[in-house]
Amino acid sequence: MAITAEQTLAFVRDFSDSMADQKDYLTGLDSDIGDGDHGINMNRGMKAVMAKLDGAAPADISAIYKTVAMTLISTVGGASGPLYGTLFLQLGNATQGKAELSANDWAAALTTAVHGVEARGKAVPQDKTMIDALEPAIAALQTAVDEGADLETALARAETAAETGMKATIPLVARKGRASYLGERSAGHQDPGATSSWLLMKAAHRAFGNTAEQESAN
C-alpha cells in the first residue's frame, strides 16, 4: 500500500472541494473570533491551485506539493497563506525524488511540514490555532506507523486526532493571531484554522486510504 502521485492529486482536489463546500462555515467561525475571511481566502487559494494543476502536465508528488505551496502563498493572503504555504512547501521538500510514499514516508513528511509551520508562525499547542489539530494528527500518525499499523489505520487515527484537537480549541483562550485580541471572549468558539486543518487530514484519509485503494482497483 503506497501513496502515488495520482492519489496526491486526488488529496489536493478533495481538500479544494472541501474548502468550497465549507467556505461559509469556515467564514462563520472566523467571524466569531477573527475578521470573517478564512473560508473565502482558502477557497480562493485552492481554486487557483486546481486551475494550475489541472492545466499542467502530470507531475510527481513533490512537484504537486510545491505548486500548491507557491499558489497558496500568492493567492490566499493573511496568515493562512504563509502558514499553509509553508506546510505544502515542506511536504514538497520532504518528498523530493519519491515516486511513491510509504506510510512511514507520509508520517515523516507531514511531521516535518507541521514543524515548519510552527517555526514560521511560532505557535505552540494550546495557542488555539491550526497546530492544535495538526500536532495531535502527526503524533497519532507516527505512533500508528511505529506500531506497524497499516496506512488506512494510520490515516484514520490521524483524522480522528485532528478532529479531537479541533474540538479541544473551543474552550481555549487564543494566544496567537487575530483571535488573541479578544482575550477571554475567544473562548467558547472553535478555531477556524484548526477546522480547515482537520478537513485537510480528512481529505488525506479519503485520498490515501482504503476507499481510494478499492476505487482504483475497480
Binding site: 467571524s31 477573527g34 475571511d37 473565502i40 493572503g77
Partner: protein, 333 residues
Amino acid sequence: MKKLINDPEAVVREELEGIEAAHGDRVRVSYDPYYIVRKDAPVQGKTAIISGGGSGHEPMHGGFVGVGMLDGACPGEVFTSPTPDQMSACTQAVSGGKGVLHIVKNYTGDVLNFEMAADLARGDGIEVEAVVIDDDVAVKDSLYTAGRRGVGATVLAEKICGAAAESGASLSQVAELCRKVNANARSMGMALTSCTVPAAGKPTFELGEDEMEIGIGIHGEPGRERRKLAPANEIVELLTKPIVKDLPFAQGDKVLAFVNGMGGTPLIELYVVYNALNKYLHGRGITIERNLIGPYITSLEMAGCSITLLKLDDETRRLWDAPVNTPGLRWGA
C-alpha cells in the same frame, strides 16, 4: 447590507482601475501583481518606503502614495494581507539604490507576508529594513497575544518617514525615525456598528442598537469589550485615559491628535469627538500642536472612531509639516 459595488469578487480590481483613472497623474497601478507606485518611481538616490495591507482601509495605504509619503503600496483582498509576490515586485519597482523601508502593521498575516517578501527582496540584492507598528493599547502586549495591533500611528509614520526620505535621509535614519514615531504614539478605537466584507455578504459581528464595542481593530473584528452606548464625552475618556496612561503622556507634553473616522461616522461627529478630546487633554496640561481629523484608516463602512496621540518633538513636527502630495493627504505641494 447595501453596497455600491458590482461583482463582490471584483471590488479590489475595480477600485484600482478607478484609482488609476482618477490619479494617473501621480501614481501607476500594476494589476499582476497588485500594487500602486508613485508615477516617477523609482526615484534614483532616494530611500524608498512601501507599505501594504488588506483593502478596505482606504485611503490607507494606496491613497498615501506620492511625493512626501509612500513610494509604493500593496493592496490585498478586503481585510486580507497582501502576498509576498506583491511586496517583492513593488519593492523592485521603487528601489532607487538607497534601500527600501517596509512599514508593517502588527497583524500576523501582514508580518508573515512581509517577512517572506523581505527575504525575496534581499535575494534580489535590494537592502530592505522593516519596522512593525504596534500602537494599539486595547490589546495587552504579552506573551499570550499576537501583540498590539498597528493602527492610527501607521498613517503618522508614513507621513513623517515619507518626508524624511524625500529630504534625503538614509534607510537606517528613516527606519530609526519610524521606530521613534511608533514608540511615541498610542491609539485606541471604538465602533458603533460592524461592517460587511463584500464577499461575505453580512456583517462580521452584530451590535445592538444601544451597544458599542470598545478596543476594536480595523478589520471588523470584535474588540475587547462591549458596553452600553454612551455620549461622546464619555467615549473620549474611555479611549483617551488608557492612551495617556500607557505611554505615559504627561503634563507639558506637546502632541499631534489624530481623530480618525472608521468610515461610517460623519465629520460632524468627529468634530464633536475632537472637541471633547481637546478639553480632556487641556485639562491634563497636554497641548495639541497639530491635528488630523477625518477618515484616514478606515474599516469599510464601520461607524466609530479611533484616537491616536503622538508625542511630538522638533524633528517629527517639522516632518509632519513638510509638503505632501498624495490622493489621500495633500498640503504644501
